[in-house]
């Protein structure tokens, strides 16, 4: 398949990329290309220019400072999955990254590209919402920071403005007694999430002091399952209590549950509690 013709510019820095975005209206940023290149080949996207930010070194890498984990937007899924710091201090993110696509895709695909693309079947958006991540974006008016919860606005739609670039993601490292996990009902061929559940559990004195659950895959944008979180708060993390809380997930899903030829809306609604239970159970084990 051949993409439509486009011009190509390679940015050496974020400010240069921002300048190019402004100079060529209707252009697209190219990170790892694992979402954009398929779109170009299918001619679902036809930008006048592609601006390659893949060589900007400042956008790469994972650093931990003062209880905050900073992940550069151009960090690959393979790097996230291999990070021992993430595995310990932000388990759900490393776990979700390890399950994206396949090894060759993970070597190219980046967290920033994934998140800016905002595919509802993607894994990382729900994870970032559950982790209460903050996203740094840079544009002509300077830098701003957005909550992951407000960043995802709908199917393939984010709060990024036309000339803005997502540069980094900041996540609070887990505190003592906190654990997280990502449970995915993966489509057997594509490995995309049919249902994705990211869970963060905080324990204190043998009880769950707080739980955060975000659902992806089955909804246009990740949603927090407040109905689940409410039931679990203050309870012991027994199998029975987790199952009872997970059973409340439907209440938080809203009216826009997705369905397709593989899994209907009704089917996804029916099995969602099972995956919420698995996510919470794993997170609870890691919190101990």
């Amino acid at each position: 398949m051949y993409a439509p013709e486009f011009d190509y510019y390679r940015a050496g820095s974020v400010s240069e990329a921002a300048g190019l975005l402004r100079k060529y209206p209707g252009s697209k940023l190219l990170a790892g290309g694992q979402s954009l290149i398929p779109l170009l080949k299918l001619r679902l996207a036809a930008p006048v220019a592609v601006i390659d930010i893949g060589r900007i070194r400042d956008l790469k890498g994972i650093t931990v400072k003062g209880g905050t984990i900073r992940v550069g937007a151009m960090t690959t899924h393979a790097e996230l999955a291999a990070s021992s710091e993430l595995a310990e201090q932000c388990h759900a993110l490393a776990q979700a990254a390890a399950g994206i696509g396949d090894p060759a895709v993970r070597n190219r695909g980046t967290i920033g590209g994934n998140v800016a693309h905002a595919d509802p079947a993607s894994d990382l958006p729900a994870v970032l919402v559950a982790l209460e991540a903050k996203l740094t974006v840079e544009g002509p008016d300077g830098k701003r920071t957005l909550d992951a919860g407000g960043f995802f606005q709908g199917m393939m739609t984010t709060a990024l403005k036309e000339h803005e670039i997502l540069t980094a993601i900041e996540i609070p490292a887990h505190s003592k007694g906190q654990g997280s996990a990502y449970a995915k009902f993966a489509h057997p061929a594509s490995r995309y999430a049919v249902i994705g559940v990211a869970a963060v559990v905080t324990t204190s004195g043998g009880k769950c002091s707080a739980a955060r659950v975000a659902i992806g895959g089955m909804v246009p944008r990740p949603v927090r399952a407040a109905s689940v979180e409410r039931v679990l708060a203050g309870q012991e993390l027994s199998a029975e209590n987790i199952a009872k809380a997970a059973g409340q997930v439907t209440e938080s899903l809203g009216n826009e549950v997705l369905g397709d030829i593989f899994a209907s809306e009704q089917y996804r609604r029916s099995v969602a509690p099972v995956w919420v239970k698995r996510g919470l159970t794993q997170a609870a084990e890691r919190a101990r």
Binding site: Y8, I37, L40, A82, D102, A104
Partner: protein
């Protein structure tokens, strides 16, 4: 628009002016008559186009030639050295890890990636490590055996 790039393909340097939309897999197949890299699904699902970019496996149907500028690319033709088959090629031969052979170049390079990151994989890890590569003849059992044997041979060689 044309964009100038230089790449090293299996140890040989090339300079070309390419259209930005040209896919890496097309560049590779057109450069020097090496056509071991296959185009299968053309949608990054099947893995037939897997190559090593600076030693790391990627799907060359889902990369632009301009992105490979300045890199060193290894295809199946570049794996053997000094007239000696790579242990993976040797093992795929010995264990008959192929049927029609179309998936084999990508399968071997994906196995190369697996053994780079995990030199002693279990059978389960081999299956997961190759999950981005499909054999439509369904010849997976012998492929797993071949990767297992190659891993042991490579560990012996150090």
């Amino acid at each position: 628009m044309k964009f100038p790039i230089s790449v090293t393909l299996n140890g040989r340097p090339y300079r070309r002016e390419v259209e930005p939309r040209q896919l890496l897999v097309h560049l590779i197949r057109d450069l020097g008559g090496v056509t071991g890299t296959k185009i299968g699904c053309d949608t990054s699902q099947c893995g037939a186009c897997t190559v090593l970019l600076d030693g790391v496996a990627i799907k060359s149907c889902t990369a632009l030639a301009v992105q490979a500028d300045g890199t060193s690319i290894t295809t199946i033709e570049g794996l053997a050295g000094d007239g000696q088959l790579h242990p993976l090629q040797e093992a795929f031969w010995n264990k008959h890890g192929l049927q029609c052979g179309y998936c084999t170049p990508g399968m071997i390079l994906a196995a190369h990636e697996l053994l780079r990151t995990n030199p002693q994989p279990s059978d389960d890890q081999i299956r997961h490590g190759l999950e981005g590569n499909m054999c439509r003849c369904t010849g997976y059992q012998n492929i797993i055996r071949a990767v297992r044997e190659a891993a042991a041979a490579m560990r012996r060689k150090g």
